[in-house]
């Protein structure tokens, strides 16, 4: 890792862009470029802005510059037997902390330990006016001022350029094992819902249509007791399996069809689609590779209490932009979004249109 503080240079670039009202596309590792609309604008390169600024294992806090590679952070944490509990997907070796937080992407542990946004304690950012601002901090409990740090988490750069991020980190589980059971879809969902009501040390779940994979984490005695209770075969190479799900290298994700992400009520019965579905998060996250139109997918998600994202457009779609990627917001909610965008970025220069054309 090459430690480097580019805060000032980045600030000047944003200030200039703001004065000229010329938009910027914020880019770090470029590993999540597939997600969201393309922004046609000058590149603001955050990737050299690297370095872990503070890491206090006994306080469970880490602060790093946004361009720091996610892998560098994970190595530093692992050396102290700690981890990012939201298990962020990388989608490439170049993945940075800033990109992960900007996208609020979380992996298999999410349903059991929380999302990226749940671990964000503080941020330093440059807003659309080129102001260098600090919100939150390095402590677990902090209610001074509005929670801007969580607001910008998942905003995909449309509210500010992240400079530094402080996160709560957690100890690595003492012991983990993954069980496999061969079941049909209804049984799999029933089991997941049933287990969710019991105090079990489950830390990940996945159903691929034939097999239900359950990861257990905790004290070895606790994991063994739960293993007995739940039953099933022990999965070999479980680490690699969960990485393949997280990184979408699993065979389910292969092929050219569009990939849809449906984040819905976990109790939703099997969705009525002909295509294969991959389940995560106890049934609350469902991946579907399908050619069904956007409207149908959004409707399906809305009926199930959630929202749909065209996570990876298929080859055909990629050429026919623009189309909606994120779930359409109701008018009142969209109006609030527009007001908030204006409050941070009055000239609309930061990643305009990356999420919604209006923002």
């Amino acid at each position: 890792m090459k430690e480097q503080d580019l805060s000032q240079a980045l600030q000047v670039q944003v200030q200039t862009a703001n004065e000229n009202k010329s938009p910027l596309q914020i880019r770090a590792g470029h590993s999540k470029a597939f997600l969201g609309h393309t922004v046609n604008a000058d590149i603001l390169d955050v990737s050299p802005h690297q370095g872990i600024i503070n890491y206090e294992p006994t306080e469970l806090v880490l602060t790093a510059r946004s361009g720091t590679l996610l892998s560098d952070i994970e190595i530093a944490l692992a050396a102290q037997n700690q981890m990012l509990a939201f298990e962020p997907p990388h989608f490439g070796d170049s993945a940075t902390l800033g990109g992960s937080i900007a996208c609020n992407l979380s992996g298999p542990r999410r349903a059991y330990a929380g999302a990226a946004r749940d671990y964000v304690l503080g941020t330093r950012l440059i807003n659309g006016k080129g102001e260098d601002l600090h919100f939150g901090g390095e402590v677990m409990k902090n209610v001074a001022g509005y929670d801007v740090s969580r607001l910008v988490t998942g905003a995909m750069g449309t509210l500010g350029v992240l400079l530094e991020i402080s996160l709560k980190v957690l100890p690595l589980p003492e012991f983990e094992t993954t069980l496999v059971q061969t079941v049909d879809t209804t049984t799999a969902l029933d089991k997941l819902h049933d287990w969710a009501l019991q105090p079990l040390p489950i830390s990940a779940s996945c159903f691929d249509g034939d097999q239900l994979m359950i990861r257990l984490s905790g004290a070895p005695t606790a994991v063994r007791a739960a293993t007995q209770k739940l039953g099933g075969e022990t999965l070999e190479n479980a680490g690699e399996f969960w990485r393949s799900i997280r990184e979408q290298r699993h065979e389910f994700f292969a092929g050219d069809k569009p990939l849809w992400r449906l984040s819905i009520a976990s109790t939703t019965p099997p969705l009525k689609v002909a295509d294969k579905v991959l389940y995560e998060w106890g049934g609350a996250l469902r991946w579907i590779k399908t050619d069904l139109p956007t409207q149908a997918m959004q409707h399906m998600a809305l009926t199930a209490g959630g929202h749909a994202t065209l996570f990876r457009p298929g080859q055909v779609q990629a050429q026919q932009q623009p189309q909606e990627i994120f779930q359409t917001l109701p008018d009142g909610l969209m109006q609030l979004h527009k007001n908030i965008k204006r409050a941070f970025d009055p000239n609309g220069i930061l990643n305009p249109g990356r999420v919604y054309p209006e923002l």
Binding site: E56, T58, E59, V61, N104, A115, D118, D132, H134, G137, E138, V139, M140, K141, V143, A144, G145, Y146, D147, V148, R150, L151, T153, G154, L170, P171, L172, E174, H193, A196, L197, Q198, P199, L200, P201, G218, A219, T221, A222, S263, I264, A265, S266, T267, W281, A284, A304, G305, G306, H307, F326, P330, G332, L333, L336, N339, I340, A343, F344, Y356
Partner: protein, 494 residues
Amino acid sequence: MQTSKHNQTAIQRSTLIDALRTILVDDAILFEQEDLKPYECDGLSAYRQLPLVVVLPETIPQVQAIVKLCQQHEIPVVARGAGTGLSGGALPHSEGVLLSLARFNQILDINVQQRTARVQPGVRNLAISEAAKKFGLYYAPDPSSQIACSIGGNVAENSGGVHCLKYGLTVHNIQQLKIITIDGELIEIGAQGLDAPGYDLLALLTGSEGMLGIIVEITVTLLPIPERVQVLLAAFDDVVKAGEAVGNIISAGIIPAGLEMMDKLAIQAAEAFVHAGYPVDAEAILLCELDGTNEEVSAHILTVRKILQDSGATEVRTARDETERMTFWKGRKAAFPAVGRLSPDYYCMDGTIPRKHLPRVLKTMADLSKAYGLPVANVFHAGDGNLHPLILYDANKPGELERTEAFGGKILELCVEVGGTITGEHGVGIEKINQMCVQFKPLELTQFHAIKAAFDPKGLLNPGKAVPTLHRCAEFGAMHIHHGELPFPELERF
């Protein structure tokens, strides 16, 4: 001047009441002096103010109509839950409507399969866990005020509790909100899944202290009741050792459900009050609660016990049964009122610090205590660095409240200096508005005002709270430091 203003208010008030009568039944509108009195303050009784009118709506359309009316006449609206807040957040506005959510007291639905409860904002925190208990579920955030405080107030303050080290704050345990904007519009935030499209307004509204919208419905996440809960009590002859023990437990990879510390004065006060059997000669005690599966708790108890001993505990007790566990907790839970018995009044502070600075903060606090001539007892959510210094004073002694507030302000500024914050869970309200100028730079405060304006351009929702004007900061700043720019130690400056 005075009279004309009065007349103007009087007219406004009678027209306002007439207009409110078209929305609400008569007993839901209070305007007589004696009826307004119970609403003049929240848990921070040093600040008192009567509102123009108190309204007690019970339906969402009523709230919408009230808010629209107020917006039309540019009348301030202050939301109030149970009024247990400790920062004056629900302090009424003299020219405004106090909107009580007390009649929104229904648990609308418990969805066992989804592990959620849909509740109205006036529901008491503890009532949710009580209702969920028969399904083996509970709502994790447990502020000490949980028998009284409302879930709407919890969301508005992002309240924590003894168990938030492991289970998080309110923001980590809610899924959906319905809010009424100042335009009277009903907006649904969040989703039934684990995330929602667009900006994280759920987080933005949580802790927004009634400044951005009126919360009229909340869907909270429920958790399975742990199979087993166990608590250890450790005594130390030195506060610093107790602080180190906390770090050692966490370094060992254990996140206790709760990890609380009390200093000598707090221990003695609690013991005298509830007879929990606390070691009264100890300089500090730690209460460490472990929960989870039976096996997990068994494994961790052994580890934690050893860590506490290795960290220099003079004594470590494990609660033998549920009764003893409750006794251990009783002293901690009663700590505020217990300290309250030592003196006519006490003032509860709420700073958070990085734990490693605990020795320095405690030392400086002891010095400040001497300098101001006011005793201070410390109750501490040690696991997450949230300090509750309780300053003992007597409001009847002239100047003592002012001295207490000045001392309190110093403690908060000290928290900021060591990289912490002026409020961990009680909110800014009116109480810590000056210290906001210490914690944030003018540009950051300006950003907060811009967020506020995105929701409430005329500034009618809870005006004057949570975020100070730059003008106010300039006045305050004339006497104070900013962001530790003047060197430590503090003591040299008075």
